[in-house]
């Protein structure tokens, strides 16, 4: 039971601080220091990292919106997820993403970012109008938004927790050499899940901000009609 529920390390004024929260703090410190060091001494490395994340996001974003507006949130998600998925391999530490509260918080960030970017791009009324284009799809769209948030969090949590558990179980049975292939599997799964989370988040944001093709055509025709009315 101790292995899948996070353990309480200490309490501040009755708020229980678990070990996943502590490892999140450690990752925050590492990331801030790393960002400072890269910015101060090796700016080329930062450029390479940002370029590669931009390429990954650009493969699913539509052409006309571009990626540079959504790069801060998605890039931060990608870097944080890579670090926190691989953090369980450090001896004595647990991955923050092996706790469902962390992954659900990340999925909630994506959930709100989708709507905020959609409203910022199209305006409130335009976003609601585009949200469910035949109006009877409205309940289905709401269900799909809730279930995608749930599946985003549970997928990450289940993958990271299961690979960490497999490494721990094999390690308790045979401590020498046999955990190494499982640790390799854990590294691959962690990187793949970080990639998939980022890709899915950018896919959801892209589906919220992009104007559908027939809608674009309709707006163009409307403008043409207005223009011809003016000229005549």
């Amino acid at each position: 039971m101790d292995s899948i529920t996070p353990q309480v390390v200490f309490e501040i004024y009755g708020i229980k601080i678990t070990n996943t929260v502590v490892s999140t703090w450690v990752i925050m410190v590492i990331l801030i220091l790393l960002a400072w060091v890269i910015r101060r001494f090796k700016p080329g490395i930062g450029e390479v990292i940002i370029e590669s994340i931009n390429g990954i996001i650009g493969s699913v974003m539509p052409e006309e919106t571009g990626t540079i507006k959504y790069l801060p949130i998605l890039g931060t998600l990608a870097v944080f997820l890579i670090f926190s998925n691989l953090f369980g391999l450090v001896p004595g530490m647990v991955s923050p993403t092996a706790n469902i509260n962390t992954t659900f918080a990340l999925a909630l960030i994506v959930f709100f970012a989708v709507h905020v970017y959609g409203i910022a791009e199209k305006g409130l009324w335009g976003y609601i109008k585009d949200f469910a284009n035949p109006i009877f799809m409205f309940p289905l769209e709401i269900i799909s938004h809730i279930s995608r948030t749930l599946s985003l969090s549970i997928r990450l949590f289940g993958n990271i927790l299961s690979t960490d558990l497999i490494v721990a179980i094999i390690f308790s049975l045979v401590p020498l050499f046999l955990p190494l292939p499982m640790a390799t599997l854990s590294i691959i799964t962690g990187l793949l899940q970080a990639y998939i989370f980022t890709i899915l988040a950018s896919l959801y944001i892209a589906s919220a901000v992009e104007v559908q093709e027939f809608e674009q055509e309709r707006r163009r025709l409307k403008q043409l009609k207005k223009k011809s009315k003016h000229s005549s």
């Binding site: 039971m1 292995s3 899948i4 529920t5 493969s59 699913v60 599946s151 549970i154 997928r155 949590f157 289940g158 993958n159 927790l161 299961s162 558990l165 793949l192 899940q193 990639y195 998939i196 890709i199 899915l200 896919l203």
Partner: protein
């Protein structure tokens, strides 16, 4: 004398059901993922210039397909490590 009281029965049933669940729950996603990979590889062999797009789509589809087995794994983990039914009979 070993006795078949309620917690023992629940534990035994939980073990049987969890193993059956994880076996059945991992069969279907494996088959479907195999079909998806096969089709994607055939498409890549036919059109090598579209390999990058196909790989991205394949990874997204694999993640979505795998979530079924991850749900099964989550339920099995809850049943094995933190069984909520067992607390009903602990007194």
């Amino acid at each position: 004398m070993w006795q078949l009281d309620a917690p023992t029965l629940i534990t035994v049933l939980t073990i049987i059901v969890s193993v059956a669940g994880i076996v059945l729950g991992s069969i279907a996603p494996s088959i479907v993922e195999g079909i998806a990979t096969k089709t994607a590889l055939e498409a890549m062999a036919r059109q090598p210039e579209a390999a990058g797009d196909i790989r991205t789509t394949l990874l997204i589809a694999m993640a979505l397909l795998e979530s079924g087995s991850i749900y099964v794994l989550l339920i099995v983990l809850i049943l094995v490590f933190a069984n909520p039914l067992l607390e009903l009979f602990v007194f």
